[in-house]
């Protein structure tokens, strides 16, 4: 088990090392602009190409390529949970964050922003059957949905038409429209690009009235990274002047009056929008069964890659949990008083606090103390240290279930306490704890999906990204579920086998001595 853990750890460490170096010179030396975004967010920002799930596309993907070209380097996207993009840029996980991030006063406290590259108005969307609705006032007292912590959310709060409980804030941009179609909401207010890509193609949904308000999208950089900030501003200026920025937005059907004002280019737009057309075509086709299966086949490589990360992470974290758990259990049962108290405190503290909080503290909290761990290492430590507390309790129970007479027999043969523990008690305790430890491992496989919050792209994250790109939560979900089940099955089998294997010598254990 130890060796597997080590190999897996080595793999995880080499898989991604946090790059803590700052600044423009470092970026140039590396030859790459590393930019953070979340592909699960969906179209049109950065998303999995509906035609090819192994490729990412989006207007920000294209913009990053243009900016990188201006800086004389290549663009390299780093996947990161959306609501943690600013923390990650401050951790040094990438140079900039660019993913529909709206400039707000709160965010200005933690990062520096470039000049805005896009202005997004807010678009109200309702069900097509509610054609009488032309503005927010027509929805007074109804239930409305939007994205968490967005300009739209502030507008919905500010107009005084809705009770606090009737404003539903979502993490993802696809779900509000789903709920609108299902009648769980009566209106959705979100940034225009989202409405254009996620609502416009929907037959049952309609735009209600013209867009209004202005959300300024800008690129976030670390405070104090002045050289990079001004280089990016100059690049944006150049792209605006040459018309390349406008052409980009037109290709994606995102050009609007507010952005025209921002870029100082009021000429009416008649240009075609090939990227948008191709997107509509890709998602518009209602595929037949054969086509659908063929499409699912193309989902397999990314899902399998995610499953591999899930498996490696779970196995290595479990190895850590088991090793540390035995140590904690032994310390708690046989250690000197201070050690016993320490082990007990660890177990109670870890079991009494949410895993999510522990992960955030390790990943985003430790950097404040100067310790910057890469995502895989943080995930491995977070899960392993957390599960160690539960394993410790398993082993404690297992050790206590071994009759006292066993230790006495070992001691009477001249063994020391540790020898008795190692050669007589622990081997028996191991057999007792096989079932609960296997159960824990299978829970860990599933719990490991939580590490998506610290930028790990494992099975659930891959599922989320694919499902968002194709608006197919059921089919892709079934695939992901089957993979989880397939990952856990061999271990459940192994546990059953080993229980039977060791049953012969368990039958005659004295009930109590």
């Amino acid at each position: 088990m130890g060796r597997i853990a080590f190999t897996a750890l080595a793999f995880l460490v080499s898989a991604s090392q946090a790059d803590a170096q700052d600044g423009l010179p470092a970026l140039r030396a590396r030859g790459a602009l590393r930019w953070g975004a979340d592909a699960e967010g969906g179209a049109p920002y950065v998303f999995k190409d509906p035609r090819d799930p192994n490729r990412l596309v989006g207007f920000e993907w294209d913009l990053a390529a243009l900016l990188a070209r201006e800086l004389g380097v290549r663009a390299e996207m780093v996947q990161n949970q959306w609501d943690k993009l600013l923390d990650a840029v401050n951790r040094g996980d990438f140079d900039v964050a660019m993913n529909g991030i709206e400039v707000t006063e709160d965010r200005r406290e933690v990062v520096a922003f470039t000049r805005p590259y896009y202005v997004a108005p807010e678009q109200l969307v309702v069900r097509k059957t509610d054609s009488h609705v032309t503005g927010l006032a027509d929805l007074a007292g109804k239930r409305v949905g939007t994205l968490k912590a967005s300009l739209a959310a502030r507008i919905l709060r500010g107009v005084g038409l809705f009770k606090e409980g009737d404003i539903a804030e979502y993490e993802g941009q696809v779900e509000p429209y789903q709920d609108l179609k299902l009648g769980r909401l009566d209106g959705v207010l979100m940034d225009y690009p989202i409405a254009q890509y996620c609502a416009r193609p929907e037959r049952d949904l309609a735009f209600a009235g013209p867009p209004f308000g202005q959300a300024f999208y800008a690129i976030a950089v670390r405070k104090g990274d002045a050289a990079l900030l001004s280089a990016l501003n100059e690049a944006l200026d150049r792209l605006a002047r040459t018309g390349e920025l406008r052409a980009l937005y037109e290709r994606w059907a995102l050009w609007n009056d507010a952005t025209a004002d921002l870029l100082g280019d009021r000429a009416p737009s008649t240009a075609p929008a090939p990227e948008y057309e191709s997107y509509l075509e890709a998602i518009g086709k209602k595929p037949g069964l054969g086509e659908r299966l063929a499409r699912y086949a193309t989902f397999l490589p990314p899902l399998l890659a995610g499953a591999l990360v899930t498996l490696l992470l779970s196995v290595s974290a479990m190895a850590l949990a088991v090793a540390l758990g035995i140590g904690l259990a032994v310390a708690r049962l046989y250690g000197p008083r201070a050690l016993r108290a320490l082990a007990a405190a660890y177990v109670e503290l870890v079991r009494g606090t949410p895993l999510l909080v522990q992960l955030y503290m390790i990943y985003y909290g430790l950097p404040q103390a100067g310790v910057v761990l890469s995502a895989p290492v943080a995930a491995f430590l977070g899960l392993g240290l957390n599960y160690a507390a539960y394993e410790a309790e398993n082993y404690r129970a297992g050790i206590q279930a071994v009759p006292r007479g066993q230790t006495e027999a070992a001691l009477s043969l001249g063994m020391g306490r540790l020898q008795a523990l190692r050669h007589v008690v622990l081997p028996q305790a191991f057999r007792i704890v096989i079932p609960p430890v296997t159960n824990d491992f299978i829970s860990l496989l599933k719990d490991s999906s939580i590490v998506a919050v610290i930028a790990m792209v494992e099975l659930t994250k891959q599922y989320g990204m694919l499902a968002a790109a194709h608006q197919d939560y059921l089919g892709v979900g079934a695939l992901a579920a089957a993979l989880y089940f397939g990952l856990g099955l061999p271990f459940a089998r192994l546990a059953r086998w080993s229980e039977v294997r060791f049953a012969t010598d368990r039958a005659a254990w004295p009930a109590a001595a």
Binding site: G405, A409, L413, V424, Q428, R506, A508, P510, A513
Partner: protein, 259 residues
């Protein structure tokens, strides 16, 4: 009182003034006796008189409040000034020289009969595995279980398990064997095979202390009887004398009920 003495002029096992209380209850109230080398002493007494506690104190599985235990030249005592570490070392040395056999066998269920016998020599004495296994096989042969070396405890009868337990204790080459009701948990039909092994060991000259309720065995095999009552050594006599003419009234009552 005439004392048998060992080869070195003193008894091999000596217990002196042993006292132990748990809470306010006095379990042992100053017990003294000795057992010369090569003798078999039987420890008798009513239930709750402290027989098990006495054996466990000798073997260091329980601590005592007062007194001393000596095996050969190794002494465990409770006089002040005797540090805990030194005491612990002495206890381990005593355990190395004494073998203990329990009423419930306490075989290691995860090891075969051979594994049970070979474990302690390997772990404690560092005997290489091949040599330990070879000696374990010889000991199993000696207790009549040559063909059961590969069996797990759960696959053996009670009598066979108890014989494995004796072989396991013998593997450490003890000078004294202590038995706490070795046949009480056995079917009557299986008792004889275990007692037979103990008789054979006596013939080889091994020193043994046996707590038992098998009066016939005590009468036939014991050199000496130690009779314990309410934590005190009420009577100590050669076996023949004890059974023919018990002096202590409690011993008379005990024998009356037992026969």
């Amino acid at each position: 009182m005439g004392r048998d003495v060992g080869a070195n002029g003193a008894a091999l096992l000596e217990v002196e003034g042993l006292r132990k209380s748990v809470g306010s209850q006095e379990i042992l109230r100053g017990v003294s006796f000795d057992v010369p080398r090569g003798r078999l002493a039987v420890l008798l007494g009513p239930s709750g008189s402290g027989k098990s506690t006495l054996l466990r104190c000798v073997n260091g599985l329980e601590t005592f409040d007062r007194g001393r235990v000596r095996v050969g030249e190794v002494v465990v005592e409770t006089t002040p000034g005797n540090g805990a570490a030194a005491r612990e070392a002495a206890v381990r040395e005593v355990r190395r020289r004494t073998g203990m056999v329990f009423q419930q066998w306490n075989l290691f269920p995860h090891l075969t009969a051979l594994g049970n016998v070979a474990l302690a020599p390997r772990v404690v004495k560092g005997v290489p595995r091949a040599e330990a296994d070879e000696r374990a096989a010889a000991l199993l042969r000696k207790v009549g279980l040559a063909d059961k070396a590969g069996s797990f405890p759960s696959q053996l009868s009670g009598g066979q398990q108890q014989r494995v337990a004796i072989a396991r204790a013998l593997a450490m080459e003890p000078e004294v064997m202590l038995y706490d009701e070795p046949t009480s948990a056995l079917d009557p039909a299986l008792v004889a095979e275990v007692l037979g092994v103990m008789r054979a060991l006596k013939d080889e000259g091994l020193t043994q202390v046996v707590v038992t309720h098998e009066m016939r065995f005590a009468r036939e095999a014991a050199d000496e009887v130690l009779f314990l009552a309410a934590g005190e050594l009420a009577e100590r006599a050669p076996a023949a004398d004890f059974f023919a003419n018990p002096r202590d009234p409690r011993a008379r009552e005990f024998l009356g009920r037992a026969s």
